[in-house]
């Protein structure tokens, strides 16, 4: 799937970031955990159900202003799609539409 720009991704039930005081930061899920590096942590921290995909991309483009904006967008969309496929991320509006 390709995430819609207006969708507001949020972590699925059972998926959350490990506590900030524990290093390295992990995305914890039922029976597994993903180690998050700089950009992946920046992305996951912003999947709060309020920010849109477009907002997440804009914020990361500012943080990584030396990288090509198109490249940042492509990487983020790919990463969000991967997390969705792994069952770690929900796109509430679209998930509702899929059920119709």
């Amino acid at each position: 799937m390709n995430p819609e720009m207006h969708a507001q991704p949020r972590l699925a039930p059972g998926c959350r970031l490990s506590e900030p005081n524990r290093a390295p930061r992990m995305l914890q899920m039922p029976e597994r955990a993903l180690r998050l590096n700089g950009p992946s942590l920046e992305i996951v921290e912003r999947c709060d159900g309020r920010r849109t995909v477009q907002q997440i991309i804009s914020e990361l483009q500012k943080i990584y202003s030396k990288a090509e904006p198109e490249r940042v967008e492509k990487d983020i969309l790919g990463y969000l799609a991967l997390l969705h496929e792994q069952g770690a991320l929900e796109f509430p509006a679209e998930d509702a539409a899929e059920r119709k």
């Binding site: 059972g14 959350r16 969705h84 069952g87």
Partner: protein, 368 residues
């Protein structure tokens, strides 16, 4: 000993051996620990902090039935405040919606609900009590509280004919994960093995069905399954390797490398009442005994697969070959595979009955 000590990733906390079910394949030991020996709330809370400090990411609260502990909500809170991911492995029996809400508020991350089958009669034959109706209710509550849910179906000779029905039920249940676990033969399951071990035909059909389900539901529901190792070519990487990733604490506080390690003669376990958890993980005799590769015999010692499967399961090597340092006898590279071949031959001598008959099971009792 030149082996470097790895970081533990998960703690299996057997809070109690008490349980309303009497499953014929229970992973608890044949000698169950009584309520009077169980660790206190304070002791468990300290152990959970020590586990997080040692690097553990996840705690699996299990039993027996962990809900039999009146302090479970408190323990979930203690685990979360230690920074752990909290998983509850339960039959769902002593649960009501109020207590589930309390567990959710305390920080429960994930709940794994066991199913013995989807027909009340045959599930009762396995569990020794009525349970199914309550489990269906629990699924509804868990979904309503948005707690991540895994359904765990233990599969074996007596219920494999109904696997498609279990898959369909799991798919419709709203659970995010479905686990289909072929019985592993230790403890109670070892005692009941001739009634549980499937035929080769049953195994082949079940793997094909589960592969199809996994592919069909990908991106929607995660389907995971454990293959029956008696029918495998190579052994399982039991516990991800001895003392490499996991540890188990019994109700009374003994720290074990796996569920069954107590059956290995002469192995001495340390107790969390006496020593800090990290010290036990790093240096207790039981953890050091089969850590790394120094203990291995041929064919493991020179095998390319030794870093993949770590020689298989020490407990199985003891149970089947009488030597806990032997290559796991399920491995086709060892002459001891003959032991497993004979067991399989007996299981395939008669076809699995289409309708489970009343069998003479050894049921797991409740500890005093």
């Amino acid at each position: 000993m030149t082996t470097t000590i790895p970081t533990p990733l998960a703690l299996i906390a057997e809070l109690t051996h008490r349980c309303p079910l009497h499953c014929v394949y229970c992973s608890n030991p044949l000698e169950l620990q009584s309520r009077g020996l169980e660790l206190s709330t304070e002791a468990w809370s300290r152990v959970l902090r020590e586990a997080a400090e040692a690097g553990v990411l996840q705690v699996d609260f299990t039993g027996g039935e962990p809900l039999a502990r009146p302090d479970l909500v408190e323990l979930v809170r203690a685990a979360r405040s230690a920074g752990l991911y909290v998983n509850l492995i339960t039959s769902g029996l002593p649960l009501d919606e109020r207590r589930l809400a309390d567990l959710a508020t305390a920080g429960l991350d994930h709940l794994q609900l066991s199913f013995q089958g989807l027909q009340e009669d045959s599930a009762r034959e396995i569990a020794g009590t009525r349970a199914l109706e309550q489990k269906l209710q629990v699924v509804k509550w868990v979904r309503a509280h948005r707690i991540a849910l895994t359904l765990n179906f233990v599969i074996h000779r007596q219920n494999l004919e109904r696997l498609e029905e279990m898959i369909a039920f799991g798919e419709a249940s709203g659970a995010g994960r479905l686990e289909f676990a072929h019985v592993q033969y230790y403890g109670w399951a070892f005692a009941n093995r001739d009634r549980l071990l499937p035929t080769r035909d049953q195994v082949d059909r079940s793997i094909a069905l589960l592969q199809q389900a996994e592919a069909r539901l990908r991106g929607k529901v995660r389907v995971e399954y454990v293959v029956p190792d008696y029918y495998a070519k190579y052994p399982k990487a039991c516990m991800g390797g001895w003392g490499r990733k996991l540890m188990l604490i019994t109700p009374s506080g003994d720290v074990l490398p796996c569920h069954a390690a107590h059956i290995i003669p002469g192995l001495r376990f340390d107790n969390v009442r006496d020593k800090p958890l990290r010290e036990i993980w790093n240096s207790s005799e039981a953890f050091q005994k089969f850590r790394g590769e120094d203990w291995m015999q041929d064919p493991c010692r020179s095998c390319d697969r030794r870093a993949q499967d770590f020689g298989g399961c020490r407990c199985q090597a003891f149970l089947l070959a009488g030597d806990p340092a032997a290559t796991d006898p399920v491995c086709t590279l060892t002459p001891r595979r003959q032991i497993v071949e004979e067991i399989i031959a007996a299981a395939n001598a008669t076809p699995a009955a289409p309708v489970p008959a009343k069998l003479d099971w050894l049921y797991r009792p409740n500890p005093s």
